[in-house]
Symmetry: C2
Subunit: 394 residues, 2 copies
């Protein structure tokens, strides 16, 4: 990375900067390069970052001392001294909890987002017992991995939490219409029980971060992550950060009213985008078309993939509604790419073209790249790692 585009910090800032700031920034840079390019030598880090080899060595020394990274094998070059490869410390790991109305998963992942083990958590019927069950499952998972060291617990949840300046979470759910148990207490309860720092964030925000941390996006461009499940949530990544908005409530494109005469929505409004484009909408379409109750969404997807006419038509209707919403997002934010995560992503070869065609049917000054989340099935889990790293690493 040549240093040509000199960094500009010309935003209006209210806090003064000390001379530790450059180290903070450069350390971040170096760590991220190790993360994304490991194994990599100090010399290559210097080349890639634009920093001097001496500076890189100092930063690497810090990261080694704090055990974020480890020295690995030595490389072999046609000429010259052999480089020492650096890797993320594989022993450090993160607990990832993906809370989902229909299915909650707990996993152990390492800092590079590799899935080490995972379990479905069966949540009890009684809303008051859900958190206890989660705490219990987490305890067992930690016990079963006593050889590893955990840096924290990341949770992606379908709802918006109040956030403060620091990107950490107040732990108080304010807007989670698709969850029926008292999710607001989960942060404090789990922190109390495990002693580990817990970072909670909205699924879509977390997946957006995940895409930037682990995916093909490089953090330099704008990205909107659209999470399609029971409802629709979006995470907006712009200018190198998640756009959180006042109280952390940015990204509720799902509750933009597209049709004033539309169906009532769980949020209390009617005709919201998610009433026509979510999994629930797909199932409703099926029920209307086939004139019988819809099966679970995964099953419905299977029907559509197998060529069942009612199944196909209902998924198509859903895709058209999705496309219209994506046009809204593309028009409003002109992101470089829009990434979709949800149950439909495994069937992207079917739904992707439909969604994209509908998005492009209207004029669009700049057409964003549209794609499913990188490794969609792990995206929500891995986003939890991104959350913890984003919060705790620096």
């Amino acid at each position: 990375m040549p240093k040509s585009p000199a960094p500009r910090f010309s935003f209006i800032n209210k806090v003064s900067a000390s001379n530790k700031i450059p180290r903070q920034i450069n350390r971040n840079l170096i760590f991220n390069q190790i993360r994304t390019r490991q194994p990599i030598s100090r010399a290559d880090l210097a080349r890639v970052s634009g920093l001097q080899r001496s500076t890189v060595s100092l930063i690497v020394e810090d990261l080694l001392r704090e055990r974020w990274i480890v020295e690995g094998s030595m490389g072999r070059l046609p000429r010259g001294r052999r480089p020492t490869f650096l890797n993320l410390n594989g022993q450090r790991s993160v607990l990832a909890l993906d809370i989902h109305p229909s299915q909650t998963t707990l996993a152990v992942m390492d800092l590079s987002g590799k899935l080490l083990s995972h379990n479905l958590i069966v949540l009890p019927e009684d809303p008051q017992k859900v958190i206890a069950a989660i705490v219990d499952a987490i305890g067992k998972m930690i016990a079963a991995n006593s050889d590893r060291s955990f840096d924290g617990i990341g949770m992606s949840v379908p709802g918006r939490f109040g956030l403060q300046l620091k990107e950490s979470n107040l732990g108080k759910s304010i807007f989670a219409p698709n969850i029926s148990w008292p999710i607001g207490q989960i942060k404090s309860r789990v922190e109390e029980a495990t002693g580990l720092p817990v970072v909670v964030d909205n699924v879509a925000n977390a997946c957006a971060l995940s895409e930037v941390w682990f995916g093909e996006s490089d953090g330099m461009h704008d990205l909107v992550m659209v999470s399609v499940s029971e409802g629709i949530g979006t995470g907006i990544f712009a200018n190198g950060r998640i756009v959180r908005g006042e109280g952390g409530f940015a990204g509720e494109f799902g509750h933009v009213q597209l049709d004033p005469n539309g169906l009532p929505c769980s949020c209390g409004s009617r005709g919201c985008w998610e009433t026509v484009a979510s999994n629930r909408a797909g199932m409703r379409y099926y029920a209307e078309i086939a004139n019988k109750p819809s099966p679970a969404f995964e099953v419905l997807l299977g029907l559509a993939a197998a060529g069942d006419p009612a199944g196909k038509e209902s998924i198509e209707k859903m895709c058209i509604a999705l496309g219209r919403g994506l046009h809204m997002i593309a028009t409003a934010l002109a992101p470089t790419e829009i990434v979709v995560v949800g149950d439909i992503t495994p069937l992207w070869h079917l739904v992707g073209p439909l969604i994209e065609a509908e998005m492009r049917r209207r004029p669009l000054v700049k057409v964003p790249r549209l794609r499913p989340a990188h490794e969609g099935n792990k995206a929500r889990l891995r986003s939890a790692v991104a959350l913890v790293m984003n919060e705790n690493l620096l």
Copy 2:
């Protein structure tokens, strides 16, 4: 400003930071404090910025040497040495050009956004002669103010320009459906003619910046600026910067399709928000209701203010449509505040409540503050100053 909320630079960055970065940031901070609090002493700057007095003195020395600021009178305190007040250098000024489909204004402003003189520019009919007329007017304005020194020319235009990493402009208009002359060449033509740096930006972006630089907003919160004129443009300020999106096309909420069966729009789509909520829409409503051609929008506003039934009804319809769009923005981005700029702002006591009521008629997790632009009539001009400062000052 106590240093308590330690600045976090934990975004994913690709450029390394040198140890000149803190100075850059602190210099910015000090300059902005002088700008917003002038006259102010070094001691107060230290208190207000959290920096040491010695550091402040060094930075002030730089700013004085570069003539950004000047030493003014001395203060008087009940006890102790008298402070030396610092002020922006009143001699430095900026040319501000507000290009507007119906009216183009050229002004001289100082760095604090004070309007020193201004002129309407009458644009010739022939599209090919417009830029020459503008260049001519600028030349005359500079000649008439030969005692002043100009730092640059800021232009706010109703359109989106291609932008690059540096927030400067490529000078090539790509999307300006409401301008009929070749605006894309304006930057290079004017730079060539005057030798001054020219910064061009979308009206809404510029006004958003202006609000942050000169208004009551402190740059710490998110803000969406909605510019209502022939069309509707929005400028999104989040995480301390304008959200520009790929190619600089973010903010086209005006072209989100709210009604698939709506009227055709200048962008080629139909049922865009701006087809129902812009000045043009207001005039169309009047023509429909009164069954006669609408007068110019300013006149229509006057009718409404004077109590003319058709005038009132048409403006009301426009306000309702505006409110619906603001609900969309509030839902999507949850900004701390939404600021409106345009011809309607002088009548805010009439239209404001209507717009806000409609915005709040639907559920909203977080209701943004809604207000007209600070000194709405000067907002577009002053935004040009913000553009130049944002671009050239540091």
